[in-house]
Symmetry: C2
Subunit: 322 residues, 2 copies
């Protein structure tokens, strides 16, 4: 663990969330060519996991209103990856309160997926525990992703982690949903998650957002303090300010199994064209919601309106709403 910018930990695993988190900017309407390009890039670059979308309820999120990566039906996934005869593991995210997980998460033997990532807000911890148990019983690796942890009370977080510690989840992910965290908060949470997960051998992960241009830095910070699972996305694609950019993370990691060159190719061939159609990145409104530790929804709305360049008005509105 000394000099982490020179050495590497072989157990550190990287997860690409380009399609999953990126789907939040285009209602998950990526065409197959785009998804296949990301998949092939993940394989060529030696990444460990690719998150291909959500398992969202078709009742709440009708199929005719969203692209296929909102629901990740088995046939849609296989159209891209076949039997996925590669070292890359595949996962989806299921949100508490938004997924018919009892039926939509198939038994592992019927799926090409390897891991289910359970996402939940602190008040949904009970359902999350049920979801984690269900996915583990069905045969999957499971990750517990407590969202917006920076907006929860410390006592609540402790109680949630106590419950999660007893589940079969193999990973507890520190999730900075609103991009509000500074490095010292990341350090505190990574250490806390470790403390709760150590008796059952759980790994700690990091999922950072880039509202304050800190997603990459906070990912490094988590890694320095022992996190062995790191999320990133190509060109940082993701909702609002986006995520930790994969091209920066792979430049930092020193494990020669990771290859950065395929990332540059997919950036120029796929992400740059997409960036001319949809917007993401740390624009000033996202700086402000991050600083205020707020959900980015107001910033997303402001960026979509005709006052998108009026930072002062946005700031005044948020400050007076506090």
């Amino acid at each position: 663990m000394t000099a982490p910018w020179i050495t590497y930990r072989p157990e550190l695993k990287v997860l690409d969330c380009t399609i999953r988190d990126g789907g939040l900017v285009n209602d998950h309407k990526f065409d197959d060519g785009f998804v296949k390009a990301i998949y092939e890039t993940c394989v060529k670059s030696g990444l460990d996991y690719m998150e291909i979308g959500y398992k969202a309820s078709k009742k709440q999120f009708p199929k005719d209103k969203f692209g296929p990566w909102k629901h990740c039906d088995e046939e849609d996934i296989r159209r891209i990856v076949g039997e996925n005869d590669t070292p890359l593991k595949l996962c989806v995210m299921a949100d508490a309160g938004k997924a018919d997980w009892q039926t939509d998460v198939l038994p592992k033997k019927d799926s090409v997926l390897d891991m289910i990532r359970v996402a939940f807000y602190i008040h949904q911890t009970s359902e999350a525990v049920d979801m984690i148990n269900d996915a583990a019983e069905k045969g999957y690796e499971v990750s517990a992703n407590l969202m917006a942890v920076a907006a929860a009370q410390e006592k609540e977080v402790d109680q949630a982690l106590e419950s999660l510690a007893e589940t079969p989840a193999g990973v507890l992910v520190v999730v900075d949903s609103w991009g509000s965290m500074y490095s010292e908060q990341v350090e505190i949470l990574v250490k806390k998650y470790f403390e709760y997960g150590k008796d059952t051998g759980k790994e700690v992960g990091i999922h950072a957002h880039n509202n304050q241009q800190l997603a990459f830095a906070n990912t490094i910070e988590a890694i320095i303090h022992g996190a062995n699972r790191a999320d990133a996305s190509m060109l940082g694609l993701g909702r609002g300010a986006g995520n930790c950019p994969m091209e920066l993370l792979l430049g930092f990691l020193r494990n020669p199994k990771f290859k950065i060159r395929p990332i540059y190719r997919v950036l120029q061939e796929r992400l740059l064209p997409l960036s001319r159609e949809v917007e993401w990145g740390p624009h000033v409104q996202y700086n402000i919601t991050g600083q205020l530790n707020q959900h980015p929804r107001t910033a997303i709305a402001a960026r979509a309106g005709d006052q998108r360049d009026n930072y002062v008005e946005f700031y005044d509105k948020l400050i007076s709403d506090v």
Copy 2:
């Protein structure tokens, strides 16, 4: 020093380098209205220093080829700031090997400037010491800015710091010219600079570049380890990938004397329009030169050419040149 994201150190001072570093993207050809807007914003926001440009040699850099902020003649500065009857201190940068400092730096009594920042590469340390002594004798505060320190040998850095420790410079600035540093390197250097400067009571500063989207994070890191002088620029304006964005830094600092709202106004009224004419920011080519610890000149050239979106070609070229 505990919980620096909650408390503040009154002795921490912020320097705006928008016009000085930003001048490198437009040959210092800002019109008076732009410079005045930055100046007034610095005053309204409670910033401590504004760096208004360079004191560059008129022989090497003819007046008809550069804007006025390349030379910062006294009459040009006064046209913007008058007698500068404000708490904001003004400074310029003088580069070793590029300045006629003996004649162009006026005695303090004839100038509205408060500080001279001496910039130099490691092999120019001897001239830098002469420049520092000269500026101090003329009556100025002086800052020693050893550039590209991440590309120098540790022994050389130690020797340079030993020489600088004996000068009247009040500040030693850790300068990540190429945006190549990670947080742990920042920590090591800040502590080293402190060690050399402590006997003569020197402050340590940080000047970060954003090649890897780490300028803000590294600035925070330096502050956590005790740096009391931080450089930033509006919307991160600066050469290549740019600097630490002022709008992020002020969101982090907790000293109520700093006001962030005037920053948002100058961003929307001045920086956004400028961003449609000239380019800066952490584009992929800058990520790559940062990762390779190289001067950004190849990246700047690539961004200006018709292959600006060809990241793979750029990467291949740099890797084969190494």
